[in-house]
Symmetry: C2
Subunit: 91 residues, 2 copies
């Protein structure tokens, strides 16, 4: 078995495989892939809760809000990402 | 040449390679890797500008702020990520 099982690509395609590094991989697997660039706006005056968490891991089921999915992502990958917290007041 | 050149790992280690998918890779290569989880807080009352962009691509040199690095990341990977914009007023 000499296939490159990590990529699912046979090892006989060296050119393509060399170019793919961890740093050059997409980080958003599923969120609004029909959009060229996913940008969200928050009008901060409209924030209703004292604290609102916004996703930066691209794994939330409620994107752009954080639903805690970063925990699973971090555990699965050894990553250390987390949300941006918007606060209306200093506690 | 039967090495898995995409991962830099020899193809003789099938167990580890099978577990690593695009969805199970870290998305933050460099930002504050000494922290277990990178969480940032914004006190929205302290926002000085009408619009402030916060990074969600983990490539910004001014993280947690966006410095436009998502453009290079998207071009290099075919990804479609972008910042979260915090706005003080409706234009
Ligand atoms: S779910 Fe993405 S940062 Fe929490
Ligand atoms: S630099 Fe990361 S979203 Fe803009």
């Amino acid at each position: 078995e000499v296939l490159n099982r990590q990529s699912g690509v046979a090892a006989v395609r060296p050119r393509r495989s060399v170019a793919v590094r961890a740093e050059a991989a997409p980080i958003n697997p599923e969120v609004r892939k029909n959009e060229e660039k996913v940008v969200d706006s928050v009008l901060v005056a409209d924030l209703s809760k004292p604290l609102t968490a916004y996703c930066r891991c691209w794994r939330s089921g409620t994107f752009p809000l954080c639903d805690g999915s970063h925990v699973k992502h971090n555990k699965a990958t050894g990553d250390n990402v987390g949300p941006l917290l918007l606060k209306k007041q200093k506690e």
